[in-house]
């Protein structure tokens, strides 16, 4: 069957492969090469070695964006997952209307980043107005604004994954614990949490990579204001590329660093949480 099928490769694989090569693979390789050059139109690229990387790390904007992103990712990953897990615990109890609540909490996840950004801009500016301030008055406002936005968007999404995880716990394990006289808190610590570790792995991965890659929400909510102090990595790279002519090489070098950071964080996090998973 294998040999006979082989000649169908062009029909089954080629269209996808061509699109993937054009949209992703060539641009990816080209991007790595260009990060070592100075260019404005790709054809005029001139080799400059590691200079782009050195300029990237010596630019205040990039290091600011890096720290802002790291802080944002840590705070959002923790808050989103804690709230999502608590909601999942409440919604797996036998009470009326769990389906309706689930539907409501999940909804913001479907709304796009640009729309989300402007929704929260309106609300946060409205809250700050009586104090004579706006969202771009202090970088801290932008930071917490993004955290709130991220929570609103992601809690429902993570919650449904946790609910699926909790519902997968075998009933007899719970029953056995209850018969043994375990209280609610013991069941949570000794049974629920260890058995939903696979969901935790997934949720941490999703919130982490979404936080690091955040762009639309950042652009719409503050666009980096005041004075680029709320610019995250993705937006900083965008600004470097399109903000001024002549720094495309630096932008590309920043993008390579960004990719490495995202990949590294993902690998470390997956390794850490996978270890804590138990077979059930």
């Amino acid at each position: 069957m294998v040999r006979q099928n082989k000649k169908y490769f062009p029909i089954f694989v080629l269209p996808t492969l061509i699109a993937f090569t054009v949209a992703f693979f060539i641009p990816f390789l080209l991007g790595i090469v260009l990060s070592f050059t100075k260019f404005t139109t790709v054809i005029d690229a001139q080799w400059v070695g590691l200079r782009n990387y050195m300029e990237a790390f010596s630019s205040k904007e990039f290091t600011n964006a890096l720290w802002f992103t790291v802080k944002f990712a840590i705070v959002s990953v923790i808050t989103v997952n804690v709230f999502a897990f608590l909601l999942a615990l409440l919604l797996t109890r036998k009470i009326k209307g769990t389906n309706l609540f689930r539907t409501v909490f999940f909804m913001p996840n479907l709304i796009g980043g640009i729309v989300l950004g402007y929704i929260w801009q309106l609300i946060l500016n409205g809250i700050l107005f009586p104090f004579g301030m706006t969202l771009t008055f202090k970088p801290e406002f932008g930071f917490w604004g993004l955290v709130i936005l991220m929570n609103w968007q992601m809690i429902g999404y993570m919650m449904v994954i946790y609910i699926a995880g909790i519902q997968n716990i075998p009933k007899d394990v719970m029953e056995a614990a209850k018969i043994d006289g375990a209280d609610r808190f013991q069941i949570l610590r000794k049974i629920t949490i260890p058995l939903v570790m696979p969901s935790v792995t997934i949720c941490l991965f999703l919130t982490m990579s979404n936080s690091f890659k955040l762009f639309d929400q950042n652009l719409a909510l503050t666009a980096g204001a005041p004075s680029r102090k709320t610019t995250m990595l993705a937006l900083d790279i965008y600004n470097t590329f399109y903000g001024s002519v002549g720094s495309e090489g630096i932008g590309q070098a920043k993008a390579v660093v960004f990719t490495l950071i995202v990949a590294l964080v993902a690998v470390i996090q997956l390794n850490l949480t996978r270890k804590r998973e138990v077979e059930n």
């Binding site: 294998v2 996808t16 107005f129 590329f241």
Partner: protein, 282 residues
């Protein structure tokens, strides 16, 4: 004793119900606030967004009319719909074929393809943003039809990964029987495999639709000058000078949310299941 703890339980669940109701209202309030402000005059929005419209501030549908005109919203909605539907169709057709083929025909090249596709998922868009735009310009893919090819390329990672995972769980016997009956791989795929793939196809379709419908940067860089999708039209409303027509903005936000809410309410079950399945496999 028994009755008392029963009573306690009842009170507990009533309290829980009230708590969740309050939280739900809180969760939905941002959308209601936007809706409410979309009926207020543009100068009464930024400073007092939490006030209901009154006879002085109420402007009826004015914001909607001016917003639709300013953003050419109907065009934007048309382009969003066209690009999303055609790209998702292309992704479903081609990546399911590819996933089946590289899962069933085992050789080094195919398994290498699988790993490259999978790894591409983690790469942030900014890595290829500039070079992809250049490549697309050279190949004349910077139009609403060409962008389908680009979306197929970017959708490959997740979609092949998910289809492959599902194909692995289908017993080979089905396909072998069809081959013995004299069907070639093409007939076998479309008549035997594709119907079996239905549940995962729904999942892949939902994940890709949500992504493409809401995508801003890719279409903005590729076709944003001439063809604006809904997110591009909304961002365009902000303009370059920081002065936003808040009335039009509120109305356009409402119009952007309505299709999503309708879609969500009609296929809510599939969406939540699909997103969970997507996350668990991804």
């Amino acid at each position: 004793m028994e009755a008392r703890s029963q009573n306690h339980k009842k009170i507990g669940s009533v309290m829980l119900f009230i708590l969740l109701t309050v939280l739900s209202i809180l969760f939905l309030s941002p959308i209601f606030i936007v809706l409410m402000n979309s009926f207020k005059g543009k100068f009464f929005i930024s400073e007092t967004p939490f006030k209901l419209p009154n006879s002085e501030t109420f402007v009826g549908l004015d914001n909607y009319l001016s917003g639709i005109e300013k953003t050419k919203f109907l065009h934007a909605a048309g382009w969003s719909l066209f690009i999303t539907l055609s790209s998702v169709t292309a992704i479903l057709l081609f990546t399911s074929m590819t996933a089946w083929f590289i899962t069933r025909v085992k050789n080094k090249f195919n398994s290498m393809l699988y790993y490259i596709f999978t790894l591409s998922m983690i790469v942030p868009f900014q890595m290829v943003m500039f070079t992809m735009t250049k490549v697309a310009n050279v190949l004349h893919l910077d139009n609403p039809v060409g962008i389908i090819v680009i979306y197929l390329g970017f959708g490959t990672g997740l979609s092949v990964f998910m289809f492959s995972g599902f194909v692995k769980s289908i017993p080979l016997e089905l396909e072998e029987a069809s081959m013995i009956d004299g069907c070639g791989p093409i007939k076998t795929f479309f008549l035997v495999v594709m119907p079996v793939l239905k549940p995962i196809t729904v999942t892949v379709a939902i994940l890709n639709s949500m992504w493409i419908w809401n995508d801003y940067l890719l279409p903005y860089l590729l076709i944003g000058m001439d063809y604006k999708t809904i997110p591009i039209a909304i961002q365009y409303l902000k303009g370059g000078y920081g002065s936003i027509d808040m009335g039009a903005m509120m109305a356009m936000l409402v119009l952007a949310i309505i299709p999503i809410v309708v879609f969500y309410i009609t296929c809510q079950k599939y969406i939540i299941e699909g997103v969970v399945a997507g996350a668990v496999k991804g």
